[in-house]
Structure formats: structure tokens, C-alpha cells
């Protein structure tokens, strides 16, 4: 296994991680500020991908597709926040789980109703397609590099938003003490809608970006949703920094585990069996990682201690 391959795999893990971060950031904000578990976050990811595919297909412009993804996901987010979610803030976790589970059903089958049962087409824009050669002779797809860049930029942007702006102050206040922001004269219900829409837009953006290199289909949100939950639980629910670290950890564990575990198993097993058992253990890898983190720190790496 050459150094080039290892670097390439690390890049892959990084790219996977930053995309997970886009999903996880919204989830963790929504949980941190409003105390809401949103299982339907994956549906917003799907909405973003479908909107991008539909608009990019109609106009031929990937960029317009991205704009559409952001708009559609934010709109869908606002809509469900106003109609359903805001009634759930005070409700027990159990009700939140059930209601947002119900939203998944509505979104998934509703999308199938509108777009049909076959996957949609969404293509990498020409300007970003194909590989580039990195220093050291590594050939790496330009689009994936762009994804890493966008993900990191958004991470920085979110950090600035939260640390440096008025809204950020309100968000941080909301995480610490909900009554206090009311006392500060902030319109809470508007703030909540705003945060929810922001989280939704991030998910939609992730869906559209990833949709270009994956399959845009009904149900695409659920596997990512579960991974995003793993991420925020590892990072500590409510912590953006935790979500970032958690996302990178999960991305790297999943990618590198899948590549290297079978190799490790080959040291003491015959290749075919090693390949199979290595793959099996690797598919459980991130859950094992999460279990270990929670045993060590029951509220995640950066979670508030009870």
C-alpha cells in the first residue's frame, strides 16, 4: 500500500467528513437551541438533491440547481417548522421522534409521487469534472476537492456566524438559557424558524452537492441521517465544534476502515475470507467508534456535562 494511496484515502475520508458536517451542523444546531430531535433532516437532504436535479435538468445550469436546492430545502424547512415542528419544542423526545418519523414517510412517498420511482440525473458541471494532479503525483477528482473546500468554507462561515454576529449571540444565548433570550427581547419563534431554515438549507446543499456524484433517489436521506446522528452524538449534541470533529472522525473511520481492515485481516486469514470479514467489521466500524466514545464520555466529546 503506497503512500499516495493512503493520502488519497485520507482525502476521501475528509471529503466524506465535511459533507457529513453539513448535515450534522444543522441537526446539532436544532438540537442545541430548540432541544429537538429531527429525524426528518434526511428528507431535507433529499429535497435539496431533487430540487437541484430538477432545476439543473431544466436549465442546464448546476449553479442554478444549487440555488434551487438551498431555496427548496429552506422553504420546506420553514414550512414544516411552522406547521409541525414548533408544536414539538416542549414535547417529550418520544413525540419528536414519532412526529419526525412520520414526516419522513410523507416526504419520501410524496417525492415519489411527484418525481416517480426512478432515480433522477444530476451531473457534475463540466468546469469541475475530471481529475487534477496534486503535488506528489496524486490524481484526485477536482469536484471532490471542491467539496472539501466548500465544506471547510461553510464550517468557517458557521463559526463566524455564531461567534461574530448578533444572531450568533442569540443562538448561543438560546443554547444556554431559553428564558434569557426572551428576556432580551428577541422574537424567539422567529429565531427558531430561522435556525431551522438554516439547518434545512445546509442539508439541502449537502444533498445537491453529493447528488452530483451519487444517485438522486427516494430514501437517499436516511443512511446519511443515521450517520449524521452518529456524528453529533460523538461530537456532543449541540456543539458545532463537536459536529465538525465528529464528522471528520466518522468520515475517516468509515473510509480508512473499509480500505485497511481487510488488509489487516489478510495478515492472518486467507484473502477471500479476510476481505469478507474485514468488510463486515468495517461496516460496523463507526458504530463501534460511537459506542466507545459514549462509554468513555457519555455526553460525547464536546457535549455539556450534566
Amino acid at each position: 500500500m503506497s503512500a499516495i494511496l493512503i493520502i488519497e484515502q485520507v482525502l476521501n475520508g475528509l471529503q466524506f467528513g465535511v459533507m457529513l458536517f453539513l448535515m450534522a451542523a444543522g441537526l446539532t444546531l436544532i438540537f442545541g437551541v430548540m432541544g429537538l430531535i429531527n429525524l426528518a433532516h434526511g428528507s431535507l437532504y433529499m429535497v435539496g438533491a431533487f430540487a437541484a436535479a430538477a432545476v439543473a435538468g431544466a436549465t442546464g445550469s448546476f449553479l442554478l440547481g444549487l440555488v434551487a436546492a438551498l431555496a427548496a430545502a429552506a422553504l420546506a424547512g420553514t414550512l414544516i417548522e411552522v406547521v409541525v415542528i414548533r408544536r414539538l419544542y416542549a414535547a417529550p423526545h418520544l413525540d419528536q421522534v414519532l412526529a419526525t418519523f412520520a414526516l419522513i414517510l410523507v416526504f419520501s412517498e410524496g417525492t415519489r409521487w411527484i418525481f416517480g420511482s426512478f432515480p433522477l440525473f444530476l451531473e457534475i458541471p463540466d468546469a469541475l469534472s475530471g481529475p487534477v494532479t496534486l503535488p506528489g503525483g496524486i490524481e484526485y477528482p477536482l469536484y471532490r476537492l471542491t467539496l472539501i473546500g466548500i465544506g471547510l468554507a461553510i464550517a468557517v462561515g458557521l463559526w463566524a456566524l455564531i461567534e461574530r454576529t448578533r444572531i450568533g449571540i442569540q443562538i448561543r444565548a438560546g443554547e444556554n438559557d431559553r428564558e434569557m433570550i426572551a428576556a432580551l427581547g428577541v422574537d424567539i419563534s422567529r429565531l427558531y424558524t430561522l435556525i431551522f431554515a438554516l439547518g434545512a438549507a445546509l442539508a439541502g446543499l449537502a444533498g445537491a452537492l453529493v447528488g452530483a456524484i451519487q444517485s438522486v433517489q427516494v430514501g437517499m436521506g436516511e443512511p446519511v441521517l443515521i450517520l449524521a446522528f452518529v456524528v453529533i452524538v460523538i461530537g456532543g449534541i449541540g456543539s458545532i465544534r463537536g459536529a465538525f470533529i465528529g464528522a471528520l472522525l466518522v468520515g475517516l473511520t468509515d473510509t480508512l476502515g473499509g480500505v485497511f481492515l481487510p488488509e489487516v485481516f489478510k495478515l492472518f486469514m486467507e484473502p477471500g475470507a479476510a476481505q469478507k470479514s474485514g468488510a463486515a467489521i468495517a461496516s460496523m466500524g463507526i458504530y463501534i467508534l460511537m459506542g466507545c466514545v459514549l462509554v468513555w464520555r457519555p455526553t460525547g466529546l464536546f457535549g455539556a456535562r450534566p
Binding site: H93, L94, D95, F101, L105, E109, V233, A280
Partner: protein, 328 residues
């Protein structure tokens, strides 16, 4: 409309018993199968309700025990039907087609798994608990998919339903009888448990863990035992479900199934003895009738669930008795 809960409970049980007899009379065996399915799902949800309704622990990974029960049945019956030896390293056996033995194994394995999973998961609480149980579910799911020896994703088919001494389990009404009797038995046990000192402590634990510890009771042990009991019952249901379908597959471990179990409980009413039973009946009926109406029945199911959460606190039982259920 306010009706005493025990009247509703009685009526539901009588209804569940009567429907298959009626179906037998008019020769509609599929109705019996459908009711049997509801009864088994109810049993699984009754198990989950011990931790979820009474202990306030939202386990999003109970499919683990359902699947383990199913695979206990599948593996034992597979070795029996292929006349191969099941080698556990320290112990070999030839498998079995006898339901009572399968049940014991299913419950035993589920209980052991629940013990170890509980030991880890119960250190956390709230959302962390929800998520770590979910993670365990996923671990088992992926393991089952890649476990080629027992069919992997294809699952295992058992060609003939397992036997129960003195009965012909292939006759739908007789198999229904077995499942219904087990459900009643578990309900009786649960009703007693609920009022016994252990139930009192578990119930208190949901409301205030500090209070329970201050009374000299060990919260962790109480939760752990509840989790183990709960897992064992859901495991039993898994074994029965596998026998109903004569088939097991990793789908039994899926997180969607864990979600469905929670849905059943909430439809019926959280923390109520018969909540899961009513929920299971309604769910199976919805699935059957809505599924027949339109391909997109999930949309309607979703809307109905939303309605229940937003407007029907306490589930159907809450609606009928005019009382909210337990707060979780």
C-alpha cells in the same frame, strides 16, 4: 367519551380472540394470519413498553432483540431441517424444531444481549440513549447482512413451521392460539409487575432518578433488569414472528423496525398495559387497508401519525379514557 380502561382492555382482548374464530367460521384463513401478526407485533411492543413506557427509556434499538429472537429460531430450525450440527465451539447441538425450546433460547439470548447492551447504554440518558441504542441496532443489522453462513441479506427460509407438542402449528388458528396465549401470559405478568415493588421503583425512576437513589435503591440495577426483561419479551416475539413467516432476515434488525415498534406504542398509548396491543391492531389494519387503497399509502400513514402526536396525546387509549398517558 370516557370509558374505564379495564373495560376497553377486556373488550380488545375478546375482540382479538373472536375475530380469528369468526374468520375460521367463514373460512378466511388469511384474516387469522393477519390477527396473528398483530398479536406478535403487540408482544414485541409490550416488551419495549416496559422500558419505554414505564422506565421512560426511549430505546431506538429494540429491533436487536426482535432480530436475535428471530435468528435464534432460524438458526436452530435451519440446523434441524438440514440435519447439520450447530457448532458453538464449546458446545454442539443438532438444532431443534420444538417451539418451547426455541422460545427459551430466543429469550435467553435476547436477555444476555440486553444485559451487555444495557450495561453500556444505560450509562447515558436522553437523546444519547436513543442514539446509542440505534447504533447497536445498526451494528447487528450490518453483521447479519454479512453473515453468509446464515443467508446474509437473503435470510433463512424455514420450510415447515416449528412444532408445539400436541398441536398442529401449520393450521393458522392453532398457531394463533399459541401466540395469543403467550401474549395474555405476558400481559398478566406485566400487570402484576407494574403494581409490584419493582414496578413501583421503575415507575418512580422515570419521574425522578435522584428520588429513587435517595430511597436507597440502585437506579442502574433497576433499569438494567427492566431492559433485560424487555429484551427477552421482544426476543420471544421475534421467534414467533419468524415462525409466522417461516423466514428470518436482517430486516428484523433494521432501524425502521425499531421505529415501527415505537409507533405502535404511541398509537395505542404510552405506558399503558394494553397500549401496544391496541396500537399493533390499528397499525396492522392500517397497513392492510390503506395499502390496498393506494401505492402511496405511506403518505397517509405519516399524516395519521402526525395527527396522533399533535392532537392525540395519550394515544387511542388516552382518547377513549380521557386520561393522558405517562410522560416520557
Amino acid at each position: 367519551m370516557r370509558i374505564a380502561e379495564h373495560w376497553i382492555n377486556g373488550a380488545v382482548l375478546i375482540g382479538i380472540a373472536a375475530l380469528p374464530l369468526w374468520a375460521l367460521f367463514i373460512d378466511e384463513p388469511f384474516t387469522i394470519t393477519l390477527v396473528t401478526r398483530a398479536v406478535i407485533l403487540a408482544l414485541a411492543a409490550v416488551g419495549l413498553n416496559i422500558v419505554l413506557g414505564f422506565g421512560g427509556l426511549v430505546s431506538f434499538g429494540h429491533a436487536v432483540f426482535f432480530g436475535l429472537g428471530g435468528y435464534a429460531m432460524g438458526i436452530l430450525a435451519y440446523h434441524a431441517q438440514t440435519y447439520t450440527v450447530l457448532d458453538l465451539g464449546f458446545f454442539t447441538t443438532e438444532g431443534t424444531k420444538s417451539m418451547p425450546i426455541i422460545w427459551l433460547v430466543a429469550m435467553g439470548i435476547s436477555a444476555i444481549a440486553a444485559f451487555f447492551i444495557g450495561l453500556l447504554c444505560l450509562r447515558t440518558s436522553g437523546v444519547y440513549f436513543i442514539m446509542i441504542t440505534l447504533a447497536f441496532g445498526q451494528m447487528f443489522y450490518y453483521f447479519a447482512i454479512s453473515w453468509a453462513q446464515y443467508g446474509g441479506e437473503d435470510g433463512l427460509s424455514i420450510y415447515v413451521r416449528n412444532g408445539f407438542p400436541g398441536l398442529n402449528t401449520l393450521v393458522p388458528i392453532q398457531f394463533f392460539g399459541i401466540c395469543f396465549a403467550l401474549l395474555c401470559l405476558v400481559l398478566i405478568l406485566k400487570a402484576r409487575l407494574q403494581r409490584a415493588p419493582f414496578g413501583l421503583a421503575l415507575n418512580a425512576l422515570r419521574q425522578s432518578e435522584a428520588r429513587v437513589a435517595t430511597m436507597g435503591l440502585n437506579p442502574m440495577r433497576i433499569k438494567l433488569l427492566a431492559f433485560v426483561l424487555s429484551g427477552a419479551i421482544t426476543g420471544l416475539a421475534g421467534a414467533l414472528f419468524a415462525d409466522l413467516n417461516r423466514f428470518v432476515s436482517p430486516a428484523m434488525f433494521s432501524w425502521q423496525f425499531s421505529g415501527e415498534l415505537i409507533v405502535l406504542i404511541i398509537i395505542g398509548g404510552v405506558g399503558r398495559l394494553m397500549g401496544p396491543v391496541i396500537g399493533a391492531c390499528v397499525f396492522v389494519a392500517l397497513e392492510h387497508f390503506l395499502g390496498g387503497l393506494t401505492d402511496f399509502w405511506h403518505v397517509y400513514l405519516g399524516l395519521i401519525l402526525l395527527g396522533i402526536v399533535l392532537f392525540g396525546r395519550g394515544g387511542l387509549l388516552g382518547l377513549l379514557t380521557g386520561k393522558e398517558g405517562a410522560h416520557v
